[in-house]
């Protein structure tokens, strides 16, 4: 160095320095894809950047709500309800919203697979796969009636089911060889219809007309029958005052969300519902009570029930006779009413008896034909009676089944393990699964022919008579999957004689042929046009007249409650319950359904065991203790959550995982054969260990603070706080003041809004570890507050999200203006300006801001679901609810194009859009005629923590409590 001239910078040094500077300059975020690929031929309907909507149907549960799928550049990004559909009327539940993650599930099979000799799955071509199946079926169909072939399917009330039946017929199989499995089938209700009205079908409940609703463990806002429709109709009668308002009484051992919405909870011992129902029926029919206007059969029923021991009823159910009399009195007075049940929570060994008693109550009160409607069940592909399932399992165990075709049924994973379905399937030489995602049954399958997702296929689903919802592919299949219909057609074409090909070119031809039957007498171009219009509308929605039914006097033995069993005093009733997010194990691979915390326990991801606080105290157990639950069937270890909404004699376990299936015995309802979910007793032992649950809640006790308010039905107004002194003038908003009103009398806590928010706003899923550390990313959450008063538990729910304050405490503390109030009254959060001090979150009294603790990940192909109108936030950035500003901007854009102001109701945030109960109303508070302004003026309206002078844009309408009747 010393040789070099001092004043000259060496070339090497220069290059080093220049390189370092270049490196510095290249530290800016990496650029995205730099290639622009043109269309070869542009699709006519697609304008890049503009959403394209398709109507289809949700297949997550049998309810069959219509769906509007929003697609962008050929991929579906959001599901919303179809407003034309009479069942969902534009709303979707949490499961429906999460269907997208089933479509984009990273673990979906990417094409057909065959299990090799080593037991590992290997990809095969579709040709080879279908040829292999056809070859395997060859010897089987050579036998009389293809005795060794069975098909096990979920209910397929449409084209798929029809084709399956045709296929089986081609094989020469009898209809019995196709078994339809639905573990949650409401067989007792179906059986009761047959017994009482000679109608072996499910009724439709019209809650919009019911003045009092009594639910025997039927969790109709979460999972029962048709939750979106029932919740909407029920909520239609809420938010009112006095006699106008629909009253709900919940009878069950655990307060599920329906129970939380109830005005009164009769806490029965698990299995005691039948006693209550019979006692209620007896009271109503008893001539001594002079109930006017009862059905003519009341007298004879009364005679049948005279033997009912009311004292025993009180003991067996744990409900006082006075409570029953009070409820009966209300039912006698307030008509029409609706009595619902049984649901999973009340399906035990005597579920059919309960269903019969319930329908008899409905009958004597005149509800049948008014709120309880028969003749609307299309009886399209109803689940097979349970004996048929048992016979299949027996046949498999006995080695009588050679080929089992499994279509979206998971007997190995969704049935109680005590039924030993997995062992039975293990004895079948060839198990063929059409499932598109791995489950317990595909693990036993030798051949996997992954079906397309409902969002990738055509079908015509008949969920109700007169209503046929048409599903259609909303995008090209994500992977090399093929619709099961197409596969059956392909296989049939390769079958040797005596079977032959199915008479369809392809699955679409079959679908078209089938949908043509919806338009009798129409043909040619007119038919094509009619089919096109129906597809655009999402289905054919006709009105069907309700059929009158008449009562058949039931077998008197049905009205005799079961003899009390000897109970092991040390054991607790095992209550298994489904929730809106957790019901069958297929939800396990759907991140949104596991990440979003359960409303009542606030647990996400892991299962838990619930105990009443008194029981926990008696057993010396506290929250987070790991306990061993043992039944005759098995044992599991679970962490305990105490929940005051549980009967003291019970321990409750949520569905959706293996745990309840391990614990459940192979018990069935004695008459309908339905799985008896509530039949076990469990002993609970402490392990002495603790296991922290991913639980996102401090305490459900609001400590005497008026965060969530309730009003009595008699005085439905919230006391208005004194106007706080103002140091600075109130902010005004020249353009709009976007505002929201949330009616907590309507809100059922179903969490559809929460999942919709995840979907709309690219909210990342962080996983259980992050949840344990309190790093939930949800922009919207339902906060439960509980109190025990007069011996009963009240739960009040508070949907909590950014309040878009006029005087937002989060704003002035941000050093870089990453958050501020804009001219439309929005509390803006500019992600790309945020440096991540988290001061805003600290200063937010609602704690609704969420921080990106880590780089969010959207494993492929889940990234295809990302909404292109919303920034994907990176680590270190604060984010929060924006009132779906992208939707506001889209509506403003349209309005400007049309040179008009934005109309009231034109902007609908994702949460409000999907709310089945229509509890959320959004609009411009600057416009005195808007719906939201009217609700802001409602007497029940208040601001949470309004005393802080934050001037929130969200007005909560206090829940009405109608308890003293």
């Amino acid at each position: 160095m010393s040789d070099e001239p001092r004043d000259a910078l060496s070339r090497r040094t220069f290059l080093k320095v220049a390189g370092a500077a270049g490196l510095l300059a290249s530290c800016s975020p990496p650029a995205g894809p730099q290639k622009l690929l043109p269309y070869l031929v542009p699709p006519e309907e697609i304008i890049p950047g503009v959403p394209l909507l398709y109507r289809t149907v949700c297949r997550e549960c049998p309810a069959g709500c219509g769906v509007t799928a929003r697609t962008r550049e050929g991929r579906v990004v959001k599901l919303e309800g179809n407003p034309d559909d009479p069942i969902g009327r534009g709303a979707l539940c949490a499961r429906g919203q999460a269907a997208l993650q089933g479509l984009y599930a990273p673990d979906r099979f990417k094409g057909p697979m065959r299990r090799g000799a080593d037991g590992a799955l290997a990809s095969v071509s579709w040709d080879d796969a279908t040829a292999a199946l056809a070859a395997a079926l060859g010897p089987a169909i050579a036998k009389p009636s293809a005795a060794g072939v069975r098909m096990l399917t979920r209910p397929e009330p449409g084209a798929t089911g029809a084709l399956q039946r045709e296929f089986m017929a081609k094989l020469g199989a009898t209809p019995r060889q196709r078994v339809v499995l639905d573990p949650f089938d409401l067989a007792p209700l179906r059986a009761a219809g047959a017994i009482v009205f000679d109608r072996p079908e499910l009724p439709v409940f019209d809650l919009s007309r019911a003045r009092t609703v009594v639910s025997f463990g039927a969790d109709f806002v979460e999972t029962w029958l048709s939750p979106v429709e029932l919740a909407r109709d029920f909520a239609g009668g809420r938010g009112r005052i006095g006699e106008e308002r629909t009253r709900l009484v919940w009878i069950g051992p655990r307060l599920c969300l329906t129970g939380v919405s109830a005005d009164e909870w009769l806490s029965v011992r698990s299995g005691g519902e039948l006693w209550v129902a019979l006692a209620l029926l007896r009271w109503l029919c008893d001539p001594a009570n002079y109930v006017p206007g009862l059905a003519a059969e009341a007298g004879s029923l009364s005679r049948l029930l005279t033997g009912l021991d009311l004292g025993a009823a009180a003991i067996e159910s744990g409900v006082a006779p006075t409570a029953i009399a009070k409820l009966a009195g209300e039912l006698a007075r307030r008509r029409p009413s609706a009595v619902l049940g049984p649901g999973v929570l009340s399906t035990g060994r005597h579920a059919t008896e309960l269903a019969v008693a319930i329908q008899l109550i409905n009958w004597v009160l005149g509800n049948v034909g008014s709120t309880v409607l028969y003749g609307l069940d299309p009886v399209a592909d109803p689940p097979s009676p349970v004996p048929a399932v048992d016979a299949l399992l027996d046949d498999m165990s006995a080695g009588r089944v050679e080929v089992l075709l499994v279509h979206h049924a998971d007997p190995a994973g969704a049935l109680p393990l005590a039924l030993k379905a997995a062992e039975a399937i293990g004895r079948v030489p060839l198990v063929v699964s059409f499932s598109d995602r791995p489950d317990a049954t595909t693990q036993l399958a030798r051949l996997i022919l992954p079906d397309t997702h409902p969002l990738e296929s055509f079908d015509a689903i008949s969920a109700r008579r007169g209503v046929v919802a048409l599903s259609q592919p909303v995008m090209t299949p994500v992977a090399d999957n093929r619709s099961a219909c197409q596969v059956l057609i392909d296989v049939a074409a390769k079958l040797p004689a005596p079977a032959g090909p199915l008479p369809y070119d392809d699955a679409y031809a079959h679908f078209q042929q089938r949908s043509a039957t919806l338009f009798p007498g129409v043909s040619g171009d007119q038919l094509a046009e009619a089919q096109r219009v129906a597809q655009q509308r999402g289905g054919v929605f006709g009105e069907v007249k309700v059929e009158r039914v008449s009562l058949r006097t039931p077998d008197p033995t049905l009205l005799v409650p079961p003899v009390a069993r000897q109970r092991d005093a040390a054991a607790l009733d095992l209550v298994v319950f489904p929730t809106a997010l957790r019901n069958d194990p297929s939800g396990e691979g759907v991140p949104w359904l596991r990440e979003v915390p359960d409303v009542l326990s606030s647990v996400s991801w892991s299962p838990w065991a619930e105990l009443a606080p008194a029981t926990a105290a008696r057993l010396g157990i506290s929250d987070g203790d790991l306990v061993a639950l043992t039944t005759q069937a098995g044992a599991v270890e679970l962490s305990v959550c105490t929940y005051p909404g549980l009967h003291e004699g019970a321990v409750a376990v949520p569905m959706g995982g293996r745990e309840p299936l391990v614990l459940l015995a192979a018990a069935a309802d004695s008459r309908s054969g339905a799985l008896a979910w509530q039949s076990g007793r469990a002993t609970l032992t402490r392990t002495g260990r603790r296991a922290e649950l991913p639980r996102f809640q401090g305490t459900p006790n609001q400590q005497g603070r008026t965060i969530v308010r309730t009003v009595s039905a008699a005085a439905p107004a919230v006391p208005k706080p004194a106007e706080p002194g103002k140091m600075v003038p109130l902010p005004t908003f020249p353009e709009h003041r976007w505002a929201m009103a949330i009616d907590m009398d309507r809100c059922t806590g179903c969490q559809a809004c929460v999942v919709a928010c995840y979907a709309e706003n690219n909210v990342p899923v962080m996983g259980p570890e992050a949840m344990i550390r309190g790093r939930n990313m949800g922009w919207l959450r339902i906060e439960p507050f509980m109190e025990e008063k007069n011996g009963t538990t009240r739960v009040d729910l508070l949907p909590m999200m950014c309040q878009q304050c006029g005087n937002a405490p989060c704003e002035p503390v941000c050093p870089v203006y990453a958050t501020y109030t804009n001219e439309e009254g929005l509390n803006a959060q500019v992600y790309n300006r945020c440096v991540g001090t988290r001061y805003c979150s600290n200063n937010c009294p609602y704690k609704v801001r969420v921080f990106n603790w880590a780089e969010p990940s959207f494993p492929e192909p889940l990234n295809m679901q990302l909404n292109p109108d919303v920034t994907v936030r990176s680590k270190g950035v604060m984010e929060k609810c924006t009132f779906c500003v992208q939707r506001i901007r889209a509506a403003e854009n349209t309005a400007r194009d049309e040179r008009r102001p934005v109309r009231d109701g034109e902007v609908v945030p994702a949460c409000a859009q999907t709310c089945p109960a229509r509890a959320i109303v959004f609009g411009d508070a600057d416009d005195p005629r808007s719906a939201v302004s009217a609700l802001q003026r409602d007497g029940r309206g208040y601001n949470v923590l309004g005393e802080l002078n934050t001037l929130p844009a969200i007005t909560y309408l206090a829940r009405v409590r109608d308890e003293d009747r």
Binding site: V728, P731, G806, N807, A808, P812, C814, Y817, Y820, L951
Partner: protein, 167 residues
């Protein structure tokens, strides 16, 4: 830099040096300087130089800081008005804090600059011959101009350990 002609006395005692300075001043010597390891008040007093005039400079620096602080806050708030927390765009109370901090900052910096300038200039204009002992344990009293002989005598009489003429 060439030191002026003068006579330098080296003292080991503060009081002696101070006494010598006083005597020199009485003797009519106008230009008396010293170099010392510490600002011994006795000595400084004896020299009787006027107080430093850094006040006005420093004060104006602080004033500049206040003005700059307000200008910065108000100017940037108005440059892109964003409402936060319903507070006025120009919120004076928080701006006072910035103005205060800047007044201290600018004041201190100006004070430093003024010190560097004045002390440097003083060191050059009223130089004292360098002697490492003056930063350790000796005091140098330097007389410039006038009757250097008389000065030398006074210094010796005052107790200087050593007196020398500087050319």
């Amino acid at each position: 830099m060439q030191p002026e002609r003068g006579v330098l006395g080296v003292f080991a005692e503060v009081a002696a040096a101070a006494g010598a300075v006083r005597t020199l001043r009485k003797g009519g010597h106008a230009e008396i300087r010293f170099a010392a390891p510490a600002p011994y008040p006795e000595l400084v007093e004896a020299l009787g130089r006027p107080r430093s005039r850094l006040d006005s400079v420093t004060l104006s620096g602080a004033a500049l800081g206040v003005a700059g602080g307000f200008a910065l806050c108000i100017g940037t708030a108005l440059a892109w008005p964003l409402m936060t927390g319903g507070k006025p765009i120009v919120s004076i109370p928080p701006f006072v804090i910035i103005a205060f901090e800047l007044s201290v900052l600018v004041g201190a910096c100006v004070n430093l600059a003024a010190l560097a300038f004045s002390a440097g200039r003083g060191r050059r204009r009223r130089a004292v011959p360098y002697d490492p002992r003056f930063s350790a344990d000796r005091i140098g009293v330097f007389v410039v101009g006038g009757d250097l002989g008389a000065a030398e005598r006074t210094l010796r009489a005052g107790g200087a350990e050593e007196v020398r003429h500087v050319a």
